[in-house]
Amino acid sequence: MGDRLHTFNGGIHPEGHKAESSATPIRDMALLPRYVVPLRQHIGTPARPLVQAGDKVLRGQPIGAAEGYVSTAVHAPTSGTVIAVEPRAVPHPSGLFDLAVAIESDGEDRAVDFTPLDWRNLDPSALRNRIRDLGLAGLGGAVFPSYIKLNPGAQSIHTLIVNGAECEPWITCDDRLMRERAAETLQGVAIMAHALGVKTVLVGIEDNKPEALAAMAAAAPAGVEVVAVPTRYPGGGGKQLTYTLTGVETPTGGRSTDVGIQVFNVGTAYSLYRAAMLGEPLLSRVVTVTGHVARPGNFETRIGTPLADLLTAAGGANPGAVGEIIGGPMMGFDLMDLAAPVTKAVNCLIVKDPVHFPPRPAPLPCIRCGACARSCPADLQPFEMYWFSRAKDFGKAQSYNLFDCIECGCCAYVCPSHIPLVDFFRFAKSEIWEREQEKRASDQARQRHEFKEFRLEREKQEKAEKFAKAAEKQKEAAAAGPAAAPADPEAEKKKAILQAALERAAKAKEGVTPKNTDHLPPRVEREIAEIDARREQVVGKEGGEG
C-alpha cells in the first residue's frame, strides 16, 4: 500500500528548523526538588485526586484516578511528600490555574514495584483497564486516553497507522525517539496491533528524517511497513497522514476509526512498551527545547517538571528572548507562566527570538485572493469562515464546516493580508461550544421545571383525592347512624377509655385544687361565716363555696 502514496490538497513548506535540536541525543534531567502534576492532562474528565497534603508518595504511585469513561490516571514522578493539592499554573493558552498535586522530592527517587503486563494472554478489556490505570494518553498533542483508542469496538479496525511524521517546524522529539529507541517503539506498536487485532501496520515518517526512517526500517518486524512520506506541513495531521498512506478520506465530522483506521503517535507506542513490558506508568516523555536557548535539544522529562527547570537544563534562554511557545510555531500557544509544568501534552518548548518570531504585522483587509482555500489541507474555504466568524454569524460559519478545521494555521501562514484566520476560527468554535452548552443547560432546566409543575399538580390531586375519600367515609358513617356505631368496637373502646380519662382528670382537679379557706385562723373563719350569712340574706340563695 505504501508504494502508491496519495497527495492531500493544500499544505505549506515552512522552514524546518529541525537541525537545531535534532543533533544531540536525548538527555536525562537531574532530579528536581519539586514537581507539580496537574490532574487534567488529557481530554475528558480530570483525574480524581487520591492524595492530600502531607501524604508520602513513591515514584509511580497513582496520585489521581481515572474518573468516568474519558479519563486516565496520573502518577507521582518521584518519591517524596505531597505539599499541596491546589490550583497551580498549567500550560494552557488562558494562563488560568488548574488543580494540581505539588510534590516535594525526598531525593531518594524510590519507586513502587512495577509488574509487567502479560499482554498476550490478558483479557482485552482487562488489558485496557490496566493501560488506563497506567495513565497512558496520546502524546501527539491531543492527549486522548489511549485505552479507549485500543478498543476495536463496534467499528472493525483493519489498519493501524503509527504517526512519526512530526511535521511541525522546530519539534524533533519523535525524531530522536525513533532514532534511539526504534526497537522499543516497535514493540509498543506490536502490542497496539495485538490489542486492535489488525493485520496492516503502517508507520509514516516524513522524509526529512532519514536517520529515523533508517532506524525504524531496520528494527521493523515482518508485517510492519515503514513508509517515507513527503515533507509537507501538516502531513502529520491524523487525517492527512491517513489519506497520504491509504487514500482513504475521513468523513466530515468523523474520526479515522469510522473508516476502520486507528492512528497512534510514536511516543504513545513507546510509552505503551514501557507500560506493558516494564509495568511502568506514564512518568516521563521526550520534550524538545529549542529556539533561542543556549543548548537546544531533547530531554527525557518527568511529567510535572516545571518548564522553568526544563529551560535551565537547556542552558537557559539567550539574551533577547521574547517569550516562549508551547508546542510548535504553527499550532502552539504562547506560554503565560514558566512555573507551569510539563504535562503529557507538552512536546516542545520554543524560546522566541525577534528574528524568527517577529511580531505579526497589522492585518489588512481581505482581498479575496483565495490563497487560504488553496492551502487548506481540510479542503475548506477559510475566507468564508473568516467573514462569518468575524461577523459573529456562527450558524453560517458552521455551515461552511468550521468544525472540520484542524487549526493547522496554513491559511494564516499564506494570507497576504496577514489576517489571523485561526484566531477567528478558535473564537467561533468556542462560542459555538458555549452556546451548545447553554442550550443543553436550558433544555435541562426546562425539563426540570416542567417536572416540578407536574409534581406539584400531582401532589395537589393526591391530597384532594385523600380528602374526598375521608369526607365520603365520614358521610357514610353519619348515614349509617347509631346502628353502624357499635360495628366498630375498637372506636367504642377508645371512646370509653377517653371518657374515663376525662372523668379521672376532672376528679383529680377537684381533689387537688387547693381551697384558700383551709387551715385559716378561727378569727378569719368566723368572718367568712358572717359574710356567707349576709350573702345568703342578700341573694336568697345558696352561698358560694368560699
Binding site: 497589522a362 489588512l364 483587509p365 443547560a441 436550558s442
Partner: protein, 181 residues
Amino acid sequence: MLSAILVMAAIGLVLGGILGWASVSYRVEEDPLVEKIDAVLPQTQCGQCGYPGCKPYAEAIAKGEAEINKCPPGGLEGIKRMAELLGVEPPAAEGMEPKPKSIAVIDENTCIGCTLCIQSCPVDAIIGAAKQMHTIIADQCTGCELCLPPCPVDCIAMVVVKEDVTTWKWRYPVHMMKRAA
C-alpha cells in the same frame, strides 16, 4: 360543458376530502410558535418578565400580549434572536446587559432547614429536608435568585461563576487594521 363541470366538481370534492382528512389527522396539538419562542428563552424560570416562568411568557409573546424585551437573563442577544424569529424590529432595551452568570450558594452554617427555598426553586435544584441543612446542586442552578427572598435567615448568596480551564473561551481577535494608504 356538463362533463367539464362534473369533472371539476369531482376534483374539488376529492381534494376537499383530502384536505379535510389531513386537517384532522395531521392536527398540530400545540402552537408550534410557543415552542419556538420557548426554545429561545434562557429557561431560568426567574419570573422577572412578570410571568410565572418561561413558558407562560412565551405563550404571552405568541399571543402578542407581551413585548419581547422583558427577559433580562436573555439579554440583548436574546432580544435579537427573538426579533429574528418573529420577524420584528428589536425594540429598545435599556439595562438589558445580562449579569455575569452566577449561582446560589447556601451558607450551611447559618441554614436552619426551613425548606422555604426548596419550595421556591423552580427547577428543584436544592436538596434538603425539614430541620436538615440544605444545599444547592450547582450544575442545576439557573441563577434565578427566587430562593433569596424566602430565606428567613438570609443565608443564600449569589456567587459569580469563575472562569476555569474548561469554560475559558478564545477571545474575539482584536487587531488594529492597518489603514490602506
